[in-house]
Amino acid sequence: MDKKQVKKELTNLLGSKKVLTNEIDLMYYSYDSSFLTKLKPVPPTAVVFPKSTEDVQKVMAFAYNHEINVIPRGAGTGETGGCVAINDGIVLDLSTFDEIVEIDVSNMQVIVRPGIVHAQLNKELAKYNLFFPPDPGSSQMCTVGGMVANNASGLRAVKYGCTEQYVLGLEVVLPNGDVITTGGVKSKAIKNVSGLNLTKLMVGSEGILGVVTKIRLRCWPKPKARGIAMAVFDNLDDAPATVLEVYKAGILPSGIEILDSSAIEAVNQFKPDINLPNAEAILLFEVDGNPPSVEYEGTTIKEIAEKRARMVEWATDPKRMAELWEGRSVTAAAAARVRPDGSRIFAGEDISVPLSKVADTLRAIRKLGEKYGIKVVNYGHIGDGNVHTAPVINPENPEEVEKVKQLVHEIHLLAIEMEGTTTGEHGVGVVRREYAEVEHGLAHQYMKKIKNVFDPKGIMNPDKLI
């Protein structure tokens, strides 16, 4: 079916208010936050804004019959090209399909549509002293549907884990238009081991198996107290060693973040008032819970860190906590500003390695940066070995672009060599798909077979993830 006809049929199916077909409008859907689409934006054939499961079903049935690709999209804040129609197709913008269907306080769960923004959901849950713990840096803009598709996590994954741990069930529209409910058709149980766990299969499947239209999430009680410890190290190896010792002491902080010397320099250049001490590494520990346990954990972390750190500070005063945490919260922005004529790029930004190899990995990345003559800023969630690397280049200089592509490739290979993975929380999409076979071996073949069961015509967000 030619594109003109597709646009016409979609408009007939859903009405013109739910469909974008104008060529200029479509250009706005040619990107996400990836370096890939910054270099090469690709517009879709049409954009559809479903408002119900039935709307999604209609689009899927139409696309299935005519073998047209369908690409689900949330807020378009992903960093992998996952929500862009790289090989043409219909983009399903689910960001306005965003109701909170039910907050079931007595069962500690919430049912939402995919477009609800993470921060908005937690704002509503807070009224009931509940929260949905995974906390991506993009909380203010990313959708929960996008979080489910990418199995997102964030700063507090150390203690609270990833999105998958909270998804109790999903409503999914399959490519042929069938609607399935995972986690039990009527179940509101928190524990459920009946049947194959299709919920876990769907979470993190990046929209290649179906379109998530309803999400049942487990919520947790909101902790009452919080504290922050900052430890400053002159030796990089002392940082992961301290983290390990904290774990060994039976303490599980809610977050453990690292800024290496490059990130410290970037933060100080960006906001001199923060005035982070110059060091090889700074660790920030966040603990939460009830007040006595927070105090106990904080003072214990301080004692442990003092064995290796040049300086340690523990704070529970909100103002001081905010000051200590500010260094971490501005790092992503600061990275962009270390070079006046440059920009940070989102590529090679999400490797995850075993804790024991974090220091070696950071050193190796610095060396790679030097090899290619590219400024690289490193920070991340050391508590789970997730390193965020921010190469800073002039993205409009073709030579630099070529060099950074090589650098990113080497960072990804390094992650695999270090017994880690190319992505800890951002996902694969288009940009890390080439490593799927190396990372998963024979299992990769079975992934493809599973994809084929759900999507025999290969129309569901094709050429992504696997």
């Binding site: 250009m27 706005y28 804004f49 807020a75 993009s138 990313c142 922005a333 500003r337």
Partner: protein
């Protein structure tokens, strides 16, 4: 100046990583909710224009113009991109390639000549007083106005009979010991729509040791032109005003209008005149410019006497975007209000959220502007305030419309009017 050489176009486009932070804060996006209204989408489209992927035509202009220029995106951008400047530069580039008669008339002819602007305002006043305006509405004549102007003309429903300029002299001596010589930049909005604000400004400044000079040759600050694709006209206006004000030896150049003080700021001068011969002269000028509220707190440290003003009133304050976002002036107007005897300041939620007026935006995008206004009015009405204070003629006009629209009995004022009243003396007359 070539569009591609304007500093933000040249240096900042590449910095956008499309992280989407701007989506979460943009008042227009919150209503439209598709990517064509996202500030990062505007940055993307400016890039497409720069690279020649799209033509500079009206289709692109319409999309870029669906932006309040409230600068909320710019102050929240992690990469430090001045998104509003990119947008303004692109609108101007498109406009240069697609001149339209209507805009020529409004922005090049009317809005650069204070006399003509005054005459048209008077005509509007006359139409209201004679009943011609309702007739025009009934006959549908207002529908002939471009864009949403037909609907929007109702927000201009109370144009005063006399401008401030017609009631003010060019020079006022300081009362008591003279501390400063101040150039008062009397903006179009204050002059024509809120003359009482101008009278109050002169009153309070002179009471506080300022000799006030109001250069009669002052022209528009150029902000409406920046927002409407007339960058070159804005440059000419800026150069004219710089030349006029630099002829005096002012200690400070003060304005009571948030939009004027942002348009005359160093940051905006760099945007408009960066790289031109006049840049240094412009910086000299801009470094003397200060918003009235900041001047009264930081420089004057104003004390407002208790005598004779006993009325207890609850006041809420709305942050104009061009004060809070463009200049970071948030605490000073609040501090001023708190210093007025009898005033209790009640904070509204999201006080720094745009009211949707944004100068000419309400005229060109009336329906959307009303949706944004309704949210603002919800915040205001929750406070139960008897007076709504703000420092921008456009916000005053929009909020007055909001109080009518929601039948909320509250007066919209500039803080300076409350201060002048608190001094309990007759308002200055010519």
């Amino acid at each position: 100046m070539d569009f591609r050489n304007i500093p933000p176009v040249k240096e900042q486009i590449m910095k956008c990583v499309r992280c989407g932070k701007c989506r979460s804060v943009c008042p227009v996006f919150a209503e439209i909710r598709n990517e064509t209204a996202a500030p990062r989408g505007h940055v993307f489209m400016v890039q497409m224009l720069r690279d020649g992927v799209v033509e500079p035509n009206n289709e692109i202009y319409e999309r870029l113009a669906n932006c309040l220029m409230c600068e909320t995106c710019s102050i929240n951008c992690p990469s430090g991109i001045d998104i509003h400047e990119l947008n303004a530069a692109a609108r101007s580039y498109i406009y240069e390639n697609n001149p339209s008669l209507g805009k020529e008339l409004i922005f090049d002819t009317l809005w650069t000549k204070p006399g003509l602007l005054k005459t048209s305002t008077k005509l509007m006043w006359g139409a209201q007083k004679t009943g011609l305006q309702p007739l025009a509405r009934r006959t549908g004549l207002t529908r002939l106005l471009p864009g949403d102007l037909g609907k929007a003309e109702q927000i201009l429903s109370s144009v005063p009979a006399r401008s401030a300029r017609s009631q003010l002299k060019n020079k006022y001596k300081a009362q008591g010991e003279k501390k400063y010589t101040v150039g008062y930049f009397l903006g179009c909005g204050t002059d024509l729509l809120n003359p009482g604000v101008a009278l109050a400004t002169v009153d309070v400044l002179t009471r506080n040791g300022c000799e006030v000079i109001i250069p009669p040759e002052t022209k528009c600050c150029g902000l409406p032109h920046i927002a409407n694709g007339k960058l070159e006209t804005a440059r000419l206006l800026a150069i004219h005003n710089i030349k006029i004000f630099n002829m005096y030896d002012f200690d400070y150049i003060i304005t009571d209008c948030a939009s004027c003080s942002s348009a005359l700021s160093r940051k905006n001068m760099e945007f408009l005149l960066g790289g031109l011969k006049i840049e240094d002269e412009a910086k000299l000028f801009a470094d003397k410019v200060m918003d009235l509220t900041k001047f009264l707190i930081e420089i004057i440290d104003i004390k407002i006497p208790e005598n004779g003003y006993n009325e207890k009133i609850k006041v809420t304050y709305h942050d104009p975007c061009h004060l809070a976002n463009a200049q970071g002036i948030k605490s000073e107007p609040r501090e001023l209000l708190k210093r007025i005897p009898g005033v209790t300041l009640i904070e509204m939620s999201d006080a720094n959220r745009c009211c949707g007026g944004s100068g000419t935006y309400v005229l060109t995008h009336y329906d959307l502007s009303m949706k944004i206004l309704d949210k603002k009015m919800d915040s205001i009405m929750e406070t139960g305030a008897e007076k709504i204070a703000t420092c921008c003629p456009s916000c005053i006009m929009q909020l007055k419309h909001g109080t009518k629209r929601h039948n909320y009995k509250s007066e919209v004022v500039h803080p300076i009017e409350l201060i002048s009243q608190a001094y309990n003396k007759p308002i200055l007359k010519k």
